[in-house]
Symmetry: C2
Subunit: 368 residues, 2 copies
């Protein structure tokens, strides 16, 4: 039990009850009592949303796509084990930023908790790269006796590099070092085993706390989509990791580049290109149309499309958005959720969305 004290429900803003075992006088509210749109409830403590001091901690700056995608992956995979009905989401409160900073650093005489390999002094492909880029903790709480929140689950995400960037001299030109998939997986397993052991040794963490460990592969820095999780392990107790479960998720950018020879998404890419050609034919002012395609087990499971035009008239945007909503169903299966963002000169003008198995809906972003 980590957060105790008076518990406020959102709508009444009155204390419901006070825990008699209150160790720190704090007030706790829960947002999203009704699990709107399948999302977790979350925690307001002492009048503020409870943030993690360690969130967003990475070895070097990550692309926005990886950072968002990593967090979303943890969120989605957590839902498989920690139901949104039962658990309340809390940003990680157990791994401090100092602690994570030392874990993410290289191993050295002065930092024996470093999970990245020691500096071997080399400045070419024989150097030891940074394999582990980022660690994120999510806590899953349960509200007991309607008055306090107990830690009842945890997700730990490890984001791994396939490409490490480095300089030979401070401020010098940047070099890249590729990491094979096998090497990334092996290094990730070693790091995850150490992380689990360290968590199980922490007194504040209940002995048999279910801990979900998610391994995530970062996309290259210049990718227009984030990376994807590739494995997870749910530890119910104990400090060793058994068999990993592979996760077959991919995020692909359409139109596929000429150098992209991967078999996945070939037909979907053709559909997207045909869709793009059809709308470009009718509205020739389109400066670009790209998509992020999300695959789970080889099946297209979501599509974010960005269309940028040079239109500026309200009427034309209305006509174009409507046209898109009439054209898209011919090219994309009704079972996948789709979000199409329509911008004019990079200003978002309309969002056309559909959930799985539902119809398209247009939201205009015009001003009064």
């Amino acid at each position: 039990m980590v957060i105790v004290g008076a518990l406020y429900f959102f709508n009444s803003r009155q204390p419901v009850s006070t825990s008699s075992s209150s160790s720190s006088p704090s007030s706790v509210q829960v947002i999203n009592q009704n699990n709107q749109q399948g999302e977790y409830r979350s925690v307001i403590s002492n009048g503020n949303y409870l943030t993690s001091s360690a969130r967003g901690m990475t070895v070097t700056t990550e692309s926005n796509f990886n950072a968002q995608s990593f967090e979303l992956s943890l969120n989605e995979l957590s839902k498989r084990f920690f139901s949104t009905r039962r658990y309340i989401f809390q940003e990680g409160q157990y791994l401090s930023s100092d602690l994570l900073s030392s874990w993410l650093d290289r191993y050295s005489n002065s930092n024996r908790s470093g999970l990245n390999p020691p500096d071997n002094g080399r400045t070419d492909d024989s150097r030891n790269p940074y394999y582990l880029q980022s660690i994120e903790e999510n806590d899953f709480m349960n509200q007991v006796n309607g008055s306090k929140l107990n830690l009842e689950g945890m997700t730990i995400g490890l984001a791994m590099n396939r490409i490490d960037h480095y300089t030979r001299t401070p401020g010098g030109p940047e070099y890249t070092q590729n990491i094979s998939r096998a090497e990334m997986v092996a290094q990730g397993r070693t790091a995850a085993a150490k992380v689990l052991r360290r968590l199980r040794a922490m007194n504040q963490i209940p002995k048999n706390l279910p801990i979900l460990i998610v391994m995530y592969e970062n996309a290259p820095e210049d990718s227009l989509a984030g990376g994807a999780p590739y494995a997870y392990y749910l530890s119910k107790s104990g400090n060793t990791i058994g068999n990993w479960t592979n996760v077959n998720f991919q995020n692909i950018v359409f139109p596929k580049s000429d150098t992209d020879r991967s078999p996945i998404g070939t037909q979907d890419n053709t559909n997207f290109v045909n869709f793009k050609n059809e709308i470009q034919n009718f509205f020739p002012n389109i400066s670009y149309a790209t998509a992020q395609a999300h695959y789970e087990n080889g099946s297209l499971n979501g599509l974010n499309i960005n269309i940028n035009t040079s239109f500026y008239s309200v009427s034309e945007i209305k006509a174009f958005a409507t046209y898109i909503s009439e054209t898209a169903p011919k090219y994309f299966n009704n079972s996948i959720p789709i979000r199409i963002s329509l911008s004019a000169s990079n200003q978002l003008m309309a969002v056309i969305t559909k959930d799985a198995n539902s119809s398209y809906r247009i939201i205009y972003l015009y001003s009064y």
Copy 2:
């Protein structure tokens, strides 16, 4: 009849029929056959959305807010007279950009069609200001015999200035000249009468074409909302204007500035400020929250709220968006449509919308 020839319906992409009186061989498609979301169908001609050569024509550059708001006003008022079920929207095809350019210019010996007053040589408040800022034409078509489009209605909007900006020497500092409301209204009536007479004299325009003339007052350039229409006249035939109908629309920015003494929106502004304070209390990282409030006949009829935060975590944005959707109903009447845009560091992260008398829905703009 202005557009004739083969007519394509969107879904079949096959010619439905060919007009025997085809004067120009063009193919016409109609977007939005089902009047989705109460919007007009619109016209695709020869494979392209039919734009107006004159759209966006103004004396000087207009603020984005005025330009969008002017167009939206014409669209909304047109719906009162030209039903979206019967009529198809077409961008103005009768007033060319050269023609409108001469109309919007000052009257002079070399430009006897100028609707703005002659230059009297003064460079202070005794100068003749530009009263008329912009003219926009919308055409309303009817599809007859399933094969061709006839012009059956037209809306002409005249956007008037309350503040005119000028320089005394080319490239010199900018001065402003205020125009009283009475002067704007009088000058607008004179200009509108001339415009109607000129339209009725055009051979291409059917004799008894219903023409809706909408008078619009621009907001000051630095306003965070657009101006509003203030009067309209529907001319069923003939070239004189009878009694104008006043339109009581207003767009107001919340929180109201200290200098805003207008009685309208006082309670709504208080509600907004209380809403803002409540969410700011829980999420202190909000850098600003403002709203555009749209009034019709003194009643709040729509609200666009912009909230900008410095959050970047997916979880916090989810929690905040959910929190907003739970908090807003306490402050805003369920009968008004509301759109809340939630940005982090000026990047749009979520849009929380509700139509009139419906519940809030969150659309996230995350990447994969």
